[in-house]
């Protein structure tokens, strides 16, 4: 578990619906290029951290990376070979709620070719389909 909240209101949470389309956080807001998720999923904190490490190892000290998602949803899991019942299990990991279209990472201050190469490495770490996008038309 790499990332998790410092303080929470409730220790555990309902599972809730996962596969929806993103209506916010679905455009490049801070950087020049972004990596967009094309599927809805719970993205574990350690996967976000793996993506960050892969990107920053490639970029070295060039450019600025923005992480647009944060794992604030506790996911509980029963231990193996445990009988059902006796209440909700302990928290196993923390995940970010990612909907189809959510922007996962953004990069600023690098060329398009560099950003594409960096995002290709990040995409390999992601458990979903992704694509690189640029800023939208400004009106």
């Amino acid at each position: 578990m790499a990332l998790m909240p410092k303080r929470v209101k409730f220790r555990k949470e309902f599972r809730r619906v996962r596969d929806r389309k993103a209506t916010k956080g679905n455009y490049v807001a801070y950087g020049d290029y972004g990596l967009q998720a094309l599927d809805g999923l719970w993205l574990p904190g350690k996967v976000i951290e793996a993506g960050r490490v892969a990107c920053q190892h490639f970029l070295k000290r060039e450019g600025k990376l923005f992480i647009r998602v944060f794992p604030d949803k506790p996911i509980s899991k029963k231990p193996l070979e445990t009988r059902m019942g006796t209440g909700k299990a302990d928290v196993d990991y923390w995940a970010a709620r990612v909907k189809a279209g959510t922007m996962l990472f953004e990069i600023a201050g690098v060329s398009e070719a560099t950003a594409r190469s960096a995002f290709a490495r990040v995409a390999n770490k992601m458990p979903c389909r992704t694509r690189m996008v640029t800023r939208r038309i400004a009106v």
Partner: protein
Amino acid sequence: MKKGPVTLKATLRPKLGSRYAKRAREKGLLPSVVYGHKLDPVAIDIESREAVKHFIAGEKVFTLDFPGRDNSDEGQTVLLKALQFDYLGNNIVHADFARVDLKERVRTKVHVELKGDAKGLKSAGAILIHPTNEIIIECRVMDIPESVTIDVSNLDLNEAITADKVELPTADMKLITDPHAIIAQIVEQKEIVVAEAATVEGAAGVAPEVIGEKERAEKAAAAPGAKPAAGAAGKPAAGAAAKPAAGAAAKPAAKK
């Protein structure tokens, strides 16, 4: 400056709602709305492919080639106010236009282009950040520029260009964006150590603090006549003791 407003072919949208808008999009039309000048809003359809081509080119002012109803929307000059995208940002699904006169002063967003190689970028680890690539200006409709160019060649490390330093093309243009808003900045990229610390913390299995849990536990302990361990320890013990007893008592009774 641009030559003149581009003409867009438009038709009246007779049926409103998402179902009819979807059908219009399938036919290659873009559902839009025209409002302003204290007249009723009018729902229209425009040719999607042609309109998007102009939007991408940065056009903002259009003339509507619109048969119109009995109102005076035929040949109306309009300003592009907003665009709506689908969830992936692939397609434009709706456009908002405001009725304007060419000599009217309006507020609009203008794209900012950075020109030149900043001298601060030559030092190791320096990166150019531009938090926003647009500024809001007030000007006459006919004077709306396609973009505003800023020269960043003299920008050094840890220096920034704010919105008030942007030179607007004509003197009667007024900057509406916050004058202190940073348009371009050169900062030194530092290695992130915070996340590594978080990793170590996470590995140790530290659970996040639950808001108000401490206070609740303290209150329960301080309350007169409270159970000795009212917290987490109290519940299972009470439950474990109570359940078998209740079960043992109830079952034989039921058999009889």
